[in-house]
């Protein structure tokens, strides 16, 4: 039963991380550049949810709608401030401009909301179901459902609609995409908007249980980066699986002494701090063995 509970908790956490990583990898594929503001967009989403919550007094799941609209706008803005002016420069220029944009967001949030951690409204209401020994909180269940719905929606957008095909075509070969009539700059800007919307949604989902404070961006950024590295740089399913792996590890590690009786005498070693150390050691080991990440690219050059 404990294992089942841990699995449920890991999926709830991993689903939210997956949204952050997905947004990151979509922008990566569209621009070949790393958007280092992705973590700060999660933080902005958290504070956005907080602001809409105190303004409207509605449950989080309803706030998602205006929040996504605002985050789409912020994504377009980010593209026009931090990407288009430097897009013909080497990709590391975009590292710097997106880091700068992230710092602006972080300090802006500090100026408006203050440095203390805040909790956003719950998605539906507080409470839980007890199923056998399993505790399923409404919040965690709603997080999974919302994240899954967004991921499925994204998948349908990319595979079933013309705009989705055009977004993918633009990411794969921008010049050729332009030469068949695709407005490529608009597509790239739209990709930033989608990436920001996903990050913002994750901010809403995560900031109930984990709070939001202006300096949270770096932590989420690192997790997205690691998830995408682990999953295979540029791989979209890999990003989701990488996020789930990180979440599973974060949830399972502190519980190991309870799961495995032989470890019980060393229970004090299974802390948050050691969890982080072990996670990164494991990532190093994995990358030594598989520098391309766990999942090879779906797209290869034909031999």
């Amino acid at each position: 039963m404990l294992a089942l509970q841990l699995l449920f908790n890991a999926i709830a956490l991993g689903a939210a991380y997956a949204l952050v990583a997905l947004g990151f990898v979509l922008i990566l594929n569209a621009t070949s550049a790393v958007n280092f503001a992705q973590g700060d967009l999660v933080m902005v989403g958290g504070f956005g949810a907080l602001a809409f919550g105190s303004l409207l007094g509605l449950p989080g799941i309803v706030l998602l709608v205006p929040l996504l609209v605002v985050m789409i706008g912020i994504g377009f803005l980010l593209a026009f401030v931090a990407y288009f002016p430097v897009r013909k420069r080497p990709p590391d220029t975009v590292f710097i401009t997106t880091i700068a944009a992230g710092i602006i967001m972080s300090n802006g949030a500090n100026a408006i909301f203050g440095p203390e951690p805040r909790a956003t409204p719950s998605l539906v209401s507080s409470g839980d179901w007890q199923i056998g020994g399993l505790v399923v909180s409404y919040q965690s269940a709603a997080v999974i459902i919302v994240a899954a719905a967004l991921i499925v929606g994204l998948h349908l957008l990319f595979t079933r609609t013309q705009i989705g095909r055009r977004l993918r075509a633009t990411a794969q070969d921008r010049d050729v995409a332009a030469s068949i009539g695709i407005p490529v700059n608009l597509m790239v800007a739209a990709t930033f908007a989608v990436g920001a919307a996903l990050a913002g949604a994750a901010g809403l989902l995560l900031s109930r249980n984990f709070f939001v404070s202006p300096t949270d961006g770096a932590n989420y950024m690192l997790k997205a980066y690691i998830a995408v590295t682990l999953g295979g740089w540029g791989s979209i399913p890999g990003a989701v699986i990488g996020a789930l792996i990180i979440a599973a590890f974060e949830v399972a590690f502190p519980a190991l002494p309870a799961l495995i009786p032989a470890l019980a005498p060393y229970a004090e070693a299974f802390t948050q701090v050691w969890s982080t150390v072990v996670l990164y050691v494991l990532i190093l080991l994995i990358l030594w063995q598989r520098p391309q990440g766990l999942f090879g690219e779906a797209v290869r050059a034909r031999p």
Binding site: R165, A169, S179, I180, G181, I182, V299
Partner: protein, 235 residues
């Protein structure tokens, strides 16, 4: 002369190097024109300048009598210029069907019809419809790239080196589709190193050498001309 494409004395630079100098060229509606020349003569640069991936420093590019020299590629494509790049460059992570669909700007029904048209033009693509483009052979990718460039029903198709890397049999199969494409009313500008095969399917031809037009004329005449034979057809 009524022209679909009228290139007037363009000069194009590539970095600091002049890739095209004082090049003029005309394509009449429904005409197939071959652009011959060795590797590096400027054929690809010329086609890229027509679609807008490169810009002419001087001179003008007119499509249907209207100057398109300052328009971005996507505007030129929507006006009716089709471009099939050298090296095929199909979208590797899109299915064959998606590669075609993404290049069409009509509604769903018309889009499906045109996909079917491309499958009739290149039957080999039909069995591969749900494969990702990177999984296709070189010849199939070339057919897909041509199909993609025809999805917008262009009035001018720019075809860059379609025989590159293909076996002679496949080259014949791909170049052999040109008369069928021409029959639909699409004019063609075909850049090809394989002069004999290009001249066999084209009405008119230009010869480029180090960025300049050094010869032009009806395809049949050029095929018989001693100079062209010496330069491209092996004597």
């Amino acid at each position: 002369m009524n022209t679909v494409l009228d290139i007037e004395q363009i000069e194009v630079r590539y970095g600091g190097v002049t890739a095209l100098r004082d090049v003029s060229l005309k394509v009449a509606p429904g005409q197939a024109v071959a652009l011959l020349g060795a590797n590096g003569a400027g054929k690809s640069t010329l086609l890229k300048t027509v679609i807008g991936l490169m810009r002419a420093r001087t001179g003008d590019v007119r499509f249907d009598g209207r100057s398109i020299a300052t328009l971005p590629p996507q505007r030129r494509a929507r006006l009716g210029v089709g471009y099939c790049p050298e090296g095929r460059r199909t979208f590797p992570g899109l299915q064959v069907r998606e590669n075609l669909m993404v290049a069409c700007w009509e509604g769903r029904a018309e889009r499906e019809r045109r996909v079917e048209e491309m499958f009739s033009l290149f039957p080999a693509l039909r069995q591969k419809a749900d494969h990702l483009a990177w999984q296709l052979s070189g010849g199939q990718q070339q057919m897909l790239a041509i199909g993609r460039s025809l999805m917008g029903r262009p009035r001018l198709l720019l075809l860059d080196e379609p025989s590159l890397g293909l076996s002679p049999v496949l080259t014949d199969e791909v170049i052999g589709r040109i008369p069928a494409i021409k029959q639909t009313g699409t004019a063609i500008l075909l850049a090809e190193q394989n002069a004999a095969k290009a001249l066999a399917v084209c009405d008119h031809a230009y010869v480029l050498q180090t960025g300049k037009v050094v010869g032009a004329g009806p395809a049949g005449e050029l095929a018989r001309s001693a100079d062209v034979r010496k330069a491209f057809l092996g004597g």
